[in-house]
Symmetry: D2
Subunit: 379 residues, 4 copies
């Protein structure tokens, strides 16, 4: 059985996100981690390679540039690279590998400027690169159930959408009194013009896209910062224009005490509604007009194939965060394998470069709307 070979940039030294990608990918058995530049420290680099049982230590590199060059030169070089570094470096790293013709899976958000994202899009077209982004929540099986049901008209025409991602990470972990000792996520240099909007707001934005198939046209955003000494916002509320008269709102927060990654989406249509909450990730609530609320559970016989093919456990066993990651890798690796083998593969269910670009535009539009006094800004 052919397995895709891949390398990783970043993720070493105990970073949680590296493990999410690795463990998620490994659930599929379709990929093999063979190369890496996990850290700028060669010591951490090697200990990570040991911890993760990389088969050949000579494929641990001191820089991503070296990795791109050497892997591209090998006959058995990596098929794709996974990028899990801070946001500001995604652009340069992705570009470097793409120029060598190596496919890319990148952590979200894609880049910190729209220009960078557009440049990657141009390059991907030029080099015929398959580019995926790990908006994790979109990997839960029932998100596909929702997408299919909406496509087939189960809820009629969409009228209004509510989406969000509140959590309490910042307020739980940042001191109340001013400090300069903050992780990289708080630095505008590393994350761009937004903290909460980029970090969790884009999760909500992309959840909306994958769930409904709609895209945000314009936003009015209101950005708050607490604790006040922070350089970037920690709470974002936005009104959404989703085109064709469809409206919505979006809430992203990192100061919502009691909430822990409580991503949610509710879609009101003319014939029914659909609702999903990350707190109960394997359940989709469906209410047909004039009927009772139905609790659709992942893996059940009445669910669509598009959903059940992503359910790895028997009914009512829990689908965890790693499996959500794994499902994005599953789709990506299936499509990449088909591409490499010259087969066609219709099923693109992973977030793409276009989704990544839209995410960056969404963040920018929110920041601009706030600056201009909370007016409509077109993406």
């Amino acid at each position: 059985m052919r397995r895709l070979k891949y390398g990783m940039v970043g993720g070493g030294g105990g970073a949680f996100i590296g493990d999410c990608h690795r463990l998620g990918a490994q659930l599929n058995g379709t990929t093999e981690l063979v190369a890496g530049c996990f850290s700028r420290s060669m010591e951490k680099n090697l200990s990570t390679a040991d911890l993760w049982a990389l088969p050949d230590p000579s494929r641990v590199y001191t820089s991503y540039q070296e990795m791109a060059e050497k892997e591209a030169a090998r006959e058995d070089g990596i098929d794709f690279v996974t990028i899990v570094t801070p946001n500001d470096s995604h652009y340069a790293i992705a570009k470097c590998f793409m120029e060598k013709g190596i496919h890319v899976m990148c952590d979200k958000p894609l880049t910190i400027t729209v220009e960078e994202a557009e440049e990657l899009q141009r390059l991907a077209e030029e080099k015929d690169i398959l580019f995926g982004l790990t908006y994790t929540y979109t990997g839960y099986p029932v998100i596909r159930q929702a997408r299919e049901m909406i496509r087939e008209g189960a809820i009629g025409d969409i009228i209004h959408v509510k989406v969000g991602h509140p959590e309490d990470w910042v307020i739980e972990s940042v001191p109340e009194e001013p400090t300069t000792d903050l992780p990289w996520r708080f630095s505008p240099d590393k994350v761009g013009a937004a903290l909460c909007t980029g970090d969790v707001g884009t999760h909500a934005e992309q959840l909306l896209v994958q769930f409904t198939g709609l895209r945000i046209q314009r936003v009015i955003a209101m950005l708050d910062t607490y604790p006040k000494y922070l350089p970037l916002e920690t709470n974002t509320t936005a009104l959404l224009d989703l085109g064709d008269g469809i409206t919505g709102d979006l809430w992203a927060s990192q100061i919502a005490i009691g909430k822990g990654c409580d991503a949610y989406i509710y879609v009101a249509g003319s014939k029914g509604s659909l609702e999903w909450r990350h707190m109960d990730p394997d359940v989709l609530l469906y209410t047909p007009l004039h009927g009772p609320i139905q609790r659709l559970e992942a893996g059940r016989g009445y669910m669509k194939e598009a959903s059940n093919r992503l359910s790895r456990v028997s009914v009512a066993h829990h689908i965890g965060f790693f499996e959500a990651f794994g499902n994005i890798y599953k789709s990506y690796s299936e499509v990449l394998l088909a591409k490499l083998e010259g087969r066609s593969c219709e099923d693109y269910t992973f977030p793409t470069l276009q989704d990544g670009l839209d995410g960056v535009k969404f963040v920018n539009a929110c920041v601009e709307s706030q600056k201009k006094g909370n007016v409509w800004v077109t993406l």
Copy 2:
């Protein structure tokens, strides 16, 4: 034991709202319904009086004007009047009784223009009238618990508030295809410039006020109409400026399939959060910073007296909609009795004329914001 005597205008002929007021008031045993003009039809008027066991049929009147005049003239005339007619008539009816010195309990929203509301406020001051409004949700005991906890600093400084009242009444009951055969609630003549914003948006707005003690300073509102042929909006999303850098948002909807009066409020503070959902009306969720979510239940020993005095049933028995009405009447009648007897009574926990005026201003500001392209409008 002295009981307050009251009369009712409207509510006859099987109108649900009349029964809510009557049954709610009657739970307290502090009031007695003795007069009424329940309908324009004298037949319905009398059958309602019979159904409700009015002691003296001669106090059933053909018009509210007659009722105001005759009751004011009696030695044992009514102490207050309850107004449960369509919105547009509240002003004239209230004014008529107030001019006779009769106190008023009125269904919400107060009036359909700000001018009318201000005129009533002026008149109330002049005539020393006690004026209450039945924003029902604010009658649930745990709303008082929240108010006290916030006052005492349990959640620190408020940062952000989310409040709403989604329901599916319109989409469940109105035909998809255009019709002119619609109830009075859809007529701008009867309800003013807004449907959903006035009907359920004001419930959310007042829930915010009673729960937090904050007042809305400015709004950006987005109003949608579905089915499209309706003359007024059925879905309202608003960004809120609550002063002192506190922000929030509000959602009111009558097209949210699967939602049934799912009023909710979540308040994020610097030291904790509080959350209430009408679906679980006797429960308040409290999360202190760094601690687990606590489920505070009405009537339990650890609850505050301000909450428990409104819990009429033993622990874990359900407090229904009539009791929420009843609690507003309880507070109103206690205060009115004290006033009539010349005693002081500090505990004003029922919504007042000021609250009613704010509600009308809120509705107007939302409508104006939408008209101007969703810009900030000051209340």
Copy 3:
């Protein structure tokens, strides 16, 4: 409009249960409280009459015997009496009124011995008495929905039933160290051979009866006592033989910390299941075989008339404890009025004398099973 006149024995001096009956009954507008012997203290008796606005103070009596005699002698005497005294006195009081031909509504459990219950049953037949019991939970509208659905075969043949009523009242209110200063509910003289089984176990038992239409044939019961110094049990677990190969279990507890009147029932059938929890009293969960769980909500258009006729509020407004009481009175008073007017009335949905007798037998069987080492005992 004709209203039934009734009197009350017990319930004075601030007893919660008196108010439940009175407020529940009064929601219907079909009854009028005109007489009473609310307490052994004439002072409390009169103050209760004043508090509850009894129209004629001469109908406040010093003893229930006097009340039975004088009311029976009046042309406009009470149509029925409500008995809300401690359990041990139900028998004598009911008998006294029944002998005068006065109908009876009695708080549960019916009596403390089977012999007493059977004697009342005999007397009721002889005197043609309409006898009702207020097993409150059975008054919630969706219990009727369940009963109808089961009757119509929505869940096929019943296989297994789980029912219970855990609460933490005893452990919350009784001291850990031995004391003799305990309320009447702890005295075997007042409540018979069981505390928890009689107090809340019978609620569960009757919930099973009203929900499913089945009756308990045999039990194996296990009775625990905590705190250990109490004379009667506080936790009861029972296996149930429901006839025709149908099994079940029942849990009643007064030491279940965190539980507050969390009555529940789950019925597994061959074609579907039904579930109800008192924590969410207006919701019935229905799962057809191979289909998703459906959340059936009281008052919705898809609910049966038998359920919706008991929903007094518009959809999604809460139905409280008083309304559950009120619904039992509603049914009882409709049937009694029909009986008095010589009309037929098929709809007996209130718990009857037979239900009360079964409840007493159930308690006795549980106590006997425990004594004999947890063996099957036939009711």
Copy 4:
């Protein structure tokens, strides 16, 4: 970094359980699958090895006996074997490897007779074998939180325990009309004298053990069979004697429509209660006497180290079924590695041979209790 080498018997040809073990184990990075006899068909055997990327195809064996012999003979032979075959074969396979000194991880239930289980226990002592069992639910982090809290007295003395595992697998998958075409789980030859009690009843039994530290002393069990033509029971209700006057009950069902692996446990103590439901696997409900219910969430700062060390994801991300498996392997592999390296390791948190033996005794006692007419049977 040293990794344990292991082999697997069974699990091939797409069996879900094989993947659970493999994916669970692989989450830790402490083990390496190097040998196997995944199926009796050598073709399936080899395709499974290919699918799972076994490094050396020569270590795929035609029989478990061959595997035990050859692996025991290699210097780099497997450290332990994982057994995931039907229940009746566990004994012979485990014995075979144990006799060669190879450690064992076995799927539950341990064996189908008590004699077999006792023989394995004897052998384990003789050969100093580390033996683990994958009672999956016990691998969720908050189960350890509960165990620690109970040990430290957070809920005082335990009074009563309710535990269960209802699901609807049989009724969803077996035809209503008699058939002989049933999977191996329905064959008494393969699973012993019980279906539901062994399959999910032991999950509940072991959940009780791991959560509370208590062990079942005696049971009264009631076993039902539906559809009636099945040779073994599909629904089990049992009263439990847990020693020291502590009681409980247990429900295991495979015909509970609407329930999907809804394992649960509620423990009532004298000072508080703890509750866990598999539907919300990362949450533990804790209620101190006189206080509100607290929702304890896996990974939060207020949780104990014993729990948080098993939380692999950041707060509020979901812990899935594979991770529950993984946590049992984590503990087992840590202890085994310590043992092999001559280090001491105190932390045995995986279910052991004693737990497996108790499980078999529990099943036997239930079957015997039913046969004897539902009487107490001592384990």
